[in-house]
Amino acid sequence: MKQLNLPLTSKEIKELHAGDSVLLNGVILTARDCAHKRIKELLERGEELPFELKDAYIYYAGPCPAKPGMASGSCGPTTSARMDSFAPDLLNRGLGGMIGKGAMSDEVRRAVKDNGKIYFAAIGGAGALYAQAIKKSRCIAFADLLSEGVYRLEVENFPAVVAFDCYGESIY
């Protein structure tokens, strides 16, 4: 399977097509419903985010607590469609891409295409497998949200499928 290091170059993005299976390596940031709401509020107020948005990859996920000796608890993707209203603006502001499960709206698909970015589908329900791909995990924002906070994950061989490619094509 194709190995990819994040962040991707625009050349690498152009070589990816909806349906391709890949293994991701590098840094991804978790964020789901509540974290997105806070990110939106901060951006609307013109305040700085507690992390760099540019070229970041957001993983729609909220992990289980880590057992002793493990970097992360089970950590599969959550339903991406709940973040449909947030994704286009974040892509326009420089977000590198998203990872989640299930289809997102046509507006998101167009924003992925217009910005030359990518949306990967992780395998929903494979929480334990994804925990093994996570080598380091640290909460970097909104710790009060517990599992809904933003976690910086270092991943290796993280299985994903290209869901929306930079040509506007979708696997769904």
């Binding site: 499960k101 929480g127 334990a128 769904y172």
Partner: protein
């Protein structure tokens, strides 16, 4: 009168919850292996194989199968000859859930519906009780994830819509859900009753093993026909297109009003983690 201390009930639910978080039911595991076997080559088969690997790994390592360790659903049928002693039942159930979600390193996913502030310990559990004959206590425990719960629907059909209306409602629900609930799914269907009882029947239907059918032949036929139509949709595992969109359709029924035909469809992802015990 048979006396049962609620502490004993707490211990049983605690063990059920710990076990349920890390392993699927035997019938679900068998259905997933069969699905992986029969799916055509492609992304859907790749995902099915990964999911089989995932639940085997989770069970071996005692890790949550899915990070959405759900809301704790507890259904109890309490024999009217049984006498409960000790802490209030609700407290005993919540205490079991609180301890299991802490000790099991499960995600705490319960929050206030308006402020969205997390309760921090996955309580309260959703507790359903029914009074039955005898002095036994029948406990069903099921953690319910919300990726699938969110895709559930209630239809208040007209009596004239009949069996075809029921099947169409089930198939439409799965079609609208598409890739979002982590297909392959299991459909729990409640037919009849009232607006509220049909939803409870739908959840109860989910607790029945995959591959079993209603004792009523006409309802078993609805289960078979709906499943066939769902799998003809071609949504496939994760929405990656394929032949396996649902593992099963389970229907429960209750008498309803002459003016109505309520139908509730409760969607469950492939992560079926139900447990049953009798005390």
């Amino acid at each position: 009168m048979r006396k049962i201390d609620t502490k004993q009930i707490e211990e049983v639910i605690y063990r059920m919850a710990l076990d349920a978080g890390v392993s699927l039911t035997a019938s679900c595991k068998a259905a997933m292996h069969a699905a992986a076997e029969r799916e055509r080559e492609g992304a859907a088969k790749f995902a099915l194989n990964a999911l089989c690997e995932n639940f085997e790994l989770a069970e071996r390592e005692k890790m949550p199968v899915c990070q959405d360790t759900g809301m704790a659903i507890v259904m109890m049928r309490i024999g009217q000859e049984a006498c409960l002693e000790g802490a209030p039942l609700k407290e005993a159930v919540d205490s079991a859930v609180r301890r299991a979600y802490g000790d099991g390193y499960f995600r705490k996913s319960v929050c206030d519906p308006v402020t969205r502030v997390n309760t921090g310990d996955n309580t309260p559990a959703v507790l359903h009780t029914e009074i039955t004959e005898g002095d036994r206590i029948y406990i069903t425990y099921m953690p319910k994830g919300f990726g699938s719960e969110n895709m559930s629907r209630v239809y208040m059909l007209k009596p004239a819509q009949g069996v075809e209306g029921i099947i169409d409602a089930i198939v439409e629900t799965v079609k609208i859900a598409g890739s979002r609930p982590c297909p392959p799914v299991i459909c729990g269907v409640g037919i009849g009753g009232t607006f509220d009882t049909c939803t409870y029947l739908a959840k109860k239907a989910l607790t029945r093993d995959i591959g079993t059918h209603s004792e009523r032949e006409d309802i078993a036929e609805i289960e078979r026909r709906a499943l066939e139509k769902i799998n003809a949709l071609g949504i496939g595992c994760q929405g990656f297109h394929g032949d396996v969109t649902a593992l099963g359709v389970n229907c429960e029924w209750a008498p309803t009003h002459i003016a109505g035909l309520p139908v509730a469809i409760n969607i469950q992802c492939h992560c079926m983690r139900c447990r049953k015990e009798v005390l």
